[in-house]
Symmetry: C2
Subunit: 254 residues, 2 copies
């Protein structure tokens, strides 16, 4: 299985602190060493860094640690291969364009079978169940909506579509278009909302702390979503199995 | 206008030498300072590095210089904005998936008008003429071919499609799916084929030389395509206006 990390904020925020702990799970504090990737949305644009090396020893991970890119939506993934060989085409997150928006998807889990992609306008490049699921979801959305729908309509559509796939295995995923971030829990997904009054957080994977009150303004709101909590002195909320949350401006909406 | 750099090889090759000269044109030896990007294909996968900083001062360009990624097909672009503001969504190269293949596109030129993208399955995320042209080309290809055609058929189709756009302005571009690389010249595009016996090349933009005989095998063949020649002691071939070459395994095919 893999590890997911997501961030959704109301102002552009760097993810350096969370990534500091997260990237150690790729070969140091955990054994997910079959590549990794991270996508940063910057307005409508998107930067996607991928490497098939373990994140703990990847030169690209070093760049991400040293170059604090500010973003309102980030999705990262550390891979422990279950289906598909270790290569770049199988490295999450995956990206496609729909309705003139980039969509980023990363999956933790394993799907035993998938609906046919015959005739789908989105086709997998690699050979993972994850990319197939992403292509199927986007094709189904493209068929339902000619143009980008309201986020409420999108949330409702994704609930019914993911339910069709969830019977086929474990399906934890993060999905974002740079405005909203969907987090779907099958087995393991936790989140925390950081807002004023900010306090000091301490990583679970390294003896590193940050005092968020010194790097934020009182209006900032940041949601961090991860397979397992990244800090050991804060209270993370465990998502329910089957839950699909939509995060907007740093908090989940009903 | 912008600067293009492409590489197509018969074996995975690093582009560090060419990039050493090329990236200086983004703010040092030339004034193309409105962002830059580079895409490396690795088998079916693709790494795309983008930055809206000038390539001469970009931390991501430093990574690309220091981390020699071996690839059979590379496309890079340094931007001098003509249409669209300086931001990540407008930074070349652009990427889409078609027929289960990633397609990478970068454009040097300016198109005054473009056919409608109403109903197109590919829609621009940013607001450049270049990304619109790419979306139009891919949509037209998707309509002609349900699955990936032969490369000869693709070459023929692209010749007629690009002719439709070329009347609308200057349209130099590079396009690749990781197997073949198309180079289309409107005003400025040059290429060189390096093969045995290899010799020493000297950059035009920096006092840097490389003896290719020490870093190649006799069977290696590498085509480098650039807006302006990157070396000052080799003979580059200037492409004709209107020419669309298809490079396969390091050389243009008829």
């Amino acid at each position: 299985m893999c590890q997911l990390l997501g961030m959704n904020c109301n102002v552009p925020t760097d993810i350096v602190f969370s990534f500091e702990g997260f990237h150690r799970r790729g070969g140091l504090t955990d054994h997910h060493a079959d590549g990794w990737g991270i996508a940063f949305f910057e307005e409508r644009g998107c930067r996607l860094f991928l490497d098939y090396l373990p994140s703990i020893s990847s030169p690209i991970a070093e760049l991400v640690r040293a170059y604090p890119i500010k973003s309102r939506n980030v999705i990262a993934h550390i891979r422990k291969a279950t289906q598909g060989t270790v290569n770049l085409a199988n490295t999450h997150p995956f990206r496609r364009e729909l309705w003139g928006q980039y969509w980023i998807f990363a999956h933790n889990g394993n799907l035993d079978s998938l609906p046919s992609l015959q005739g789908s306008r989105f086709q997998p490049v690699g050979d993972t169940d994850s990319e197939q699921a992403f292509c199927w979801l986007l094709d189904a959305l493209a068929k339902r909506f000619d143009v980008a729908p309201t986020y409420d309509a999108l949330h409702t559509a994704l609930k019914s579509l993911t339910a069709e796939l969830a019977d086929r295995g474990s399906f934890n995923f993060l999905l974002s278009n740079g405005e909203v971030l969907f987090a779907r829990c099958s087995t393991d997904l936790h989140y925390i909302i950081r807002r004023a009054p900010f306090s000091t957080a301490h990583l679970a994977d390294a003896d590193v702390s940050v005092d968020f009150s010194s790097v934020t303004t009182p209006d900032d709101r940041v949601a961090v979503i991860a397979t397992q909590p990244l800090t050991d002195n804060e209270t993370w909320t465990r998502m329910d199995s089957g839950q699909l949350l939509m995060f907007v401006d740093g908090e989940p909406v009903a």
